[in-house]
């Protein structure tokens, strides 16, 4: 069909077609779901449920894998107390699906398992749990309340506390004549590493993380130990501080003295160095217990855990590294029933015993974290058993004692994960000898301020 006139100029049909298409484009661009419609709800604080016989169906999202199976097995216990609440438990790739679901407001679940570092970023979509958590707040680890707090509201039901511990190869240290219990400060850790290196030339005894994300997470563990974090309660960046300078200088000195194994957590290089007894100190969250149980072969049974060294005499011997909570989207259909589910699992003895105690997935109990609810984290009443592949050590006692030392006052800013391309990468550059601690602080502060904070 020829739409041009004989002279080659656009004919009337072409003009009409172009005009119609343009008008349609304008209409399409302007209509449809209005930008700004997603996830708005008039109220923001979840009311305490009052129904004496609650009933209904709740949709709960958990990430696929071991924890999904653990929580799935607890539903039976929950239904003993709440027989009329049906739990639709779904294994979902939360990172991939949650944001779009909340924005569109379609198929929104009633409860979601979420990394602590991500709670702040979603807080506008979530119920403020201030009122429902009130009876339990005083008994929850302060660090967990802080990481779930945004502008005075609490947006997550704290699940686990992940205290940082110093994992060490007891057999290797014993052979080198090193007494691990004497490592009470980070300077003494360096001294012990030097001694070990003399005993085993070529070894690089301290783990230096090579993944930007985990490196930044580990930095936050050290900072948490010093009672600080990347931003204060008002969101003000506090990277340029004596605490961060001290931590980065220490990491830099480990690297410069050739005492660190540069490897990504449990990568082939890491596992190889651990099993070869070249890497014998791993300052890491409690979830390192997974390694001797599942990953290490030659050194299985040789590993032990102790509190982290202190930054100064009398200082805290632990800091938090990672952790997760449960969030309740405002657009969920049965948010109050979802709260009852999490209340049971976290604050009811039958509930937290079902989560942490022996189950089909973890026959000795869930030993990769401890409860954030302190009555459940009693050092004398273990929920999980001593770990055989750590020489039968009672890691529960060590971890719960360390957990009590984690200082509060360390909120996680909503842009935390977005800082990895800046701070996380710069830490790696420092550990590769390309930046000084001062440059890491200056460059990262500038980038975080202009790319993340200024664009909030």
């Amino acid at each position: 069909m020829n739409l041009t006139s004989r002279q080659g100029r656009p004919g009337p049909r072409r003009l009409i077609a172009v005009g119609t298409a343009s008008a349609l484009a304008l209409v399409l661009a302007g209509c449809g779901p209005s930008i700004g419609a997603g996830g708005t709800a008039s109220k923001s604080v979840l009311a305490v449920p009052t129904d004496k016989s609650p009933r209904g169906t709740i949709t709960i999202w958990d990430r696929p894998g071991d924890l999904y199976k653990v929580f799935d097995a607890t539903i039976k216990e929950f239904n003993k107390k709440y027989p009329n609440i049906k739990v639709k438990h779904q294994a979902v790739n939360i990172d991939a699906k949650l944001q779009n679901t909340l924005i569109t407001g379609t198929g929104v679940p009633d409860g979601v398992f979420l990394d602590d570092a991500k709670v702040g970023g979603y807080s506008k979509y979530l119920w403020n749990l201030r009122d429902v958590l009130k009876p339990y707040k005083a008994d929850i680890a302060p660090q967990k309340i802080d990481v779930n707090t945004v502008k005075g509201g609490i947006y997550g039901v704290p699940f686990d506390l992940d205290p940082g511990l110093l994992f060490y190869n007891q057999t290797a240290l014993k052979n080198a004549g090193i007494n691990a219990s004497a490592i009470t400060s980070y300077d003494k850790l360096i001294a012990a590493a030097k001694k070990y290196q003399q005993f085993k030339p070529g070894s690089k005894p301290i783990h230096l993380e090579q993944s930007p994300f985990l490196g930044q997470l580990q930095l936050e563990m050290y900072a948490s130990q010093l009672g600080t974090s990347l931003a204060d309660n008002n969101g003000k960046l506090q990277l340029n501080s004596p605490e961060y300078t001290r931590i980065l200088t220490w990491l830099d000195s480990v690297q410069k003295q050739g005492l660190g194994t540069r490897a990504e957590y449990l990568s082939p290089s890491d596992v190889g160095a651990l099993d070869a007894r070249n890497e014998v100190f791993v300052p890491w969250a409690i979830w390192f217990t997974f390694a001797p149980q599942q990953q290490l072969k030659a050194t299985q049974g040789e590993w032990r855990a102790m509190p982290l060294p202190a930054w100064q005499a009398g200082g805290a011997r632990s800091g938090a590294m990672g952790g997760s909570s449960f969030v309740l989207p405002k657009n969920g259909k049965n948010s109050q029933l979802a709260w009852l589910f999490y209340e049971f699992l976290m604050y009811n003895k039958a509930g937290y015993s079902a989560v942490y105690g022996p189950n089909e997935v973890y026959p000795g109990g869930l030993n990769t974290s401890i409860p954030a609810y302190q009555p459940a984290a009693n050092p004398k009443r273990p929920l999980f058993q001593p770990i055989e592949s750590m020489g039968g050590q009672d890691v529960w006692a060590t971890a719960t004692a360390a957990g009590k030392q984690i200082p509060g006052g360390a909120p996680i800013p909503s842009w935390w994960a977005g800082a990895v391309p800046y701070l996380g990468n710069n830490i790696q550059k420092m550990l590769d000898g390309q930046l000084t601690p001062r440059q890491v602080i200056d460059q990262s502060s500038k980038d975080i301020q202009s790319n993340l904070i200024a664009r909030q």
Partner: protein, 304 residues
């Protein structure tokens, strides 16, 4: 004139009009289902994204109009340019080598005398259909600096361990190798279809004239494959500039952002719920890829 004649006379123009309308409207009605789907799932999202790119919307609350703010932020942002530069470098490492390799393999597989031809064809396409996550894990183990098979083999001839995935100098070539290994089979299949469209008599004539195999390749095969090659180049240009899963799984964009491709950088904006910047980033990428594709079309267009 009887009554029936009058009625017939009146009915005739109406029937003609009906036929005219049917003939005029029918083509539009036939294409309507496609157009409806196209508008709903391509045109509308595109325009919505365009509108979004001029706002600072973060998925909730009212969107504030920021004009060209997102575009100017990106165009003055080192991370955005680094992502483009990384994608450009990967393109240089992947596409020219892949085209040469794919032509050679396709010509070999097109040889009727080749034994186990079917087996080789399947073997070449297997990496393309294997899930990337599985391949990525193999890659991570193979290229591990201290315990990987590649460095172990190189160690036998005295080459010291190389940080394939942990140094910015080597991470890009290693990623390019993964992409080459995974997608070359697909390009080979496309080129094979192009080869099968070339008339055998041309080769027979060339044989009679005494042309060597390499001469035939250069003077018959490559010129006649030009359109197919052009299609492949455009396809792979799009794929490289949108490359996301490979660096996401293997290197997470590192070390130091040296494998953060344009696609991965875009993803970072979106995961931070910075949807306005993400939308602007998408449009800048669309413009760039469109310009590159048009450039290739002009460059490789057959002279006939």
């Amino acid at each position: 004139m009887t009554m029936s004649t009058t009625l017939r006379a009146r009915a005739l123009p109406r029937a003609r009009k009906g036929i005219f309308l049917t003939r005029t409207l029918a083509p539009y009605l036939f294409v309507l289902p496609f157009v409806a789907v196209f508008v709903a799932f391509s045109v509308y999202p595109l325009l919505f994204t365009l509108r979004l790119s001029f706002t600072n919307w973060r998925g909730i609350g009212p969107a504030e109009w920021v004009g060209l703010g997102n575009y100017s932020y990106l165009l003055t942002n080192a991370g955005f340019w680094q992502g483009l530069a990384n994608s450009g470098a990967l393109w240089l490492l992947i596409v020219p080598a892949q085209m040469v390799l794919a032509v050679i393999v396709a010509v070999l597989l097109n040889d009727m005398k080749l034994r186990l031809r079917g087996f080789y064809r399947v073997a070449f396409i297997v990496p393309f259909v294997t899930p990337l996550v599985a391949i990525a894990q193999i890659w991570i183990v193979l290229f591990d600096q201290n315990y990987g098979a590649i460095n172990s083999v190189l160690g036998l001839i005295g080459i010291p361990p190389i940080g394939w995935l942990t140094t910015s100098a080597w991470a890009k070539p290693t990623l390019a190798l993964l992409f080459l290994w995974k997608t070359t089979g697909f390009i080979v299949i496309i080129l094979l279809s192009g080869l099968q469209a070339i008339d055998d008599t041309l080769y027979e004539a060339a044989d009679l004239d005494g042309a060597s195999r390499s001469r035939q390749l250069w003077s018959i095969t490559v010129p006649l494959l030009r359109r197919t090659l052009l299609f492949s180049v455009v396809l792979q240009t799009l794929a490289v500039f949108q490359m996301f899963a490979e660096p996401f799984v293997v290197t997470q964009g590192g070390p130091y952002g040296s494998t953060t491709t344009a696609g991965l950088y875009l993803y970072d904006n979106i995961t931070r719920a910075d949807l306005g910047t993400g939308a602007a980033n998408s449009f800048l990428l669309v413009i760039l890829v469109l310009a590159l594709s048009l450039g290739f079309v002009r460059l490789l267009r057959p002279k006939d």
